[in-house]
């Protein structure tokens, strides 16, 4: 896949079909990738496709404002489609290089499973359905699906839905739906007051770094409501109350745009389970309006559109 990507990306740049290539580059930290944005052919050698390509790159073409060749996984492609629906991107400006994705490895889970620190892991290799992990010279085998990100469980579209060039063969959807909704079920079974307590504790940790907002491809407001000071809706001071209000409103702003890529949670330095909120909303809009994010680039976004038959049993 990697070689095909380099070849195709090189061709695109050489033929002048795109101005930039956005892909996954080798990270400065082991077992992580970082975004690689380039208009030079010689940089394309640094492109990688491995089990650690967690980044959602679909945010970058908005700022580049040029013709772009972009590498996407299934979830990223739906973010991209959602941005096209919101008129943030033109489909004609994009050459989408699709990566069929079998799941992205969460290095923290690998460390947990192999009972080691991340620094002690020297090498990880994919061998069929398992990962061979080298820890301090000894080798351990871990089932691949045990160490992928939570978002990968129940992934309905591992193969990009929208692409120009597909770099591998299609991957069937994940059927572990139950596993994917486990966290939500557990919270829902709690009392309302316990749920509130849970979120209160979580948001007491928040330091308001805005990493969740800055990494989110659906968060594309020119000026975020938390930065507005006339009127000041939310205090910039990181109290749990304001943190919670900020995150709830952010959640509602990206509802209908969020493809459940999980970048908010991955970016969070204090480990707040932010994906739980987004995931819940993904389920709700499916339930209420039968809408799934990023499926059809020609359909209107869910909240710019309404049906006379929308549910209103909650309205007196």
């Amino acid at each position: 896949m990697e070689n095909k990507l380099k070849e195709e990306a090189g061709k695109l740049l050489k033929e002048g079909k795109v101005d930039y290539i956005i892909g996954f580059g080798k990270g400065t930290v082991k077992f992580r990738t970082s975004p690689l944005i380039t208009n030079k052919e010689e940089d394309l050698d640094n492109l990688v496709i491995n089990p650690f390509i967690a980044n959602n790159l679909s945010r970058y073409p908005i700022e580049l404002k040029s013709r772009v060749g972009i590498v996407v996984k299934g979830c990223d492609s739906r973010s991209l489609t959602s941005l096209i629906q919101d008129n943030k991107l033109n489909r004609e400006d994009l050459v989408i290089l699709g990566v069929p994705c079998e799941g992205v490895v969460d290095i923290k889970k690998v460390a947990d499973q192999s009972k080691a620190e991340i620094d002690q892991i020297t090498d990880i290799n994919r061998e069929g359905d398992s990962l061979a992990v080298q820890v301090n010279g000894s080798s351990k085998t871990i089932p691949f699906r045990d160490v992928v990100f939570d978002k990968c469980y129940g992934c309905a579209h591992p193969t990009p839905l929208e692409y120009d060039i597909l770099l591998g063969s299609e991957v069937p959807p994940s059927l572990e739906t139950e596993k994917s909704l486990k966290g939500i079920k557990e919270l829902e079974e709690m009392d309302a007051s316990d749920r509130w307590k849970f979120w209160k504790e979580q948001f007491s940790k928040c330091i308001r770094c805005y990493g969740c907002r800055n990494v989110c491809p659906a968060c594309f407001c020119e000026r975020c409501f938390v930065d507005v000071n006339m009127p000041q809706w939310v205090s910039t001071y990181a109290t749990w109350q304001d943190n919670l209000v900020f995150q709830l409103i952010r959640t509602l702003h990206v509802t209908g745009r969020c493809s459940d890529c999980g970048e908010c949670e991955r970016a969070c330095p204090v480990g707040i389970p932010l994906r739980s909120l987004q995931r819940k909303m993904v389920e709700e809009i499916k339930d209420l309006f039968g809408y799934e994010v990023g499926i059809d680039k020609d359909s209107p976004p869910v909240f710019t559109h309404y049906e006379a038959t929308d549910p209103e049993d909650f309205i007196k």
């Binding site: 849970f198 909303m281 006379a308």
Partner: protein, 141 residues
């Protein structure tokens, strides 16, 4: 405040074109509704940002009522249809984080429905009274 003397304080965001006039009619018709509600007039139920609801709760009100025109009656054609979608997910999210559903109520009340406005406010205030004072955003609980 002592529990025994506590009275709920709720905010009502009422649409200028229908519910606000409906509340006006309630008064003209000499129908009684609880004094616990503080009414804020808004141009359309579609104007109500979920942020208003959360900020109101954060600032300590015990409940928020949002009322607009019946579907199809919107002065701006589609404001209440959009609001309906927005509120549908808003209440789900608020419930998910543990805010009692009784604290946030949506309703459609037309300008001619004075009695209905009184009934909606009455029922809402009673519901809020049952769940008690809003201590959600207090540091100690």
């Amino acid at each position: 405040m002592e529990e025994s003397t506590w009275e709920p304080k709720v905010v009502g965001f009422l649409c200028h074109w229908c519910s606000y006039a409906g509340a006006d009619l309630t008064g003209s018709a000499r129908l009684e509704y609880p004094h616990n509600i503080r009414i804020i007039r808004i141009p359309c139920s579609g104007r109500v940002d979920p942020l208003f609801i959360l900020r109101a709760l954060q600032n300590g009100v015990d409940g928020v009522l949002v009322s607009g025109c019946h579907p199809g009656d919107c002065h701006y054609q589609s404001g209440n249809f959009h609001a309906r979608r927005k509120f549908g997910v808003t209440r789900k999210l608020l419930e998910y984080v543990g805010i009692e559903p009784e604290r946030v109520q949506f309703s459609w009340v037309a300008a001619s429905e004075g009695p209905k406005m009184a009934q909606v406010i009455n029922e809402f205030v009673e519901g809020v009274r049952k769940v008690g004072p809003n201590r959600l955003f207090k540091d100690e609980q």
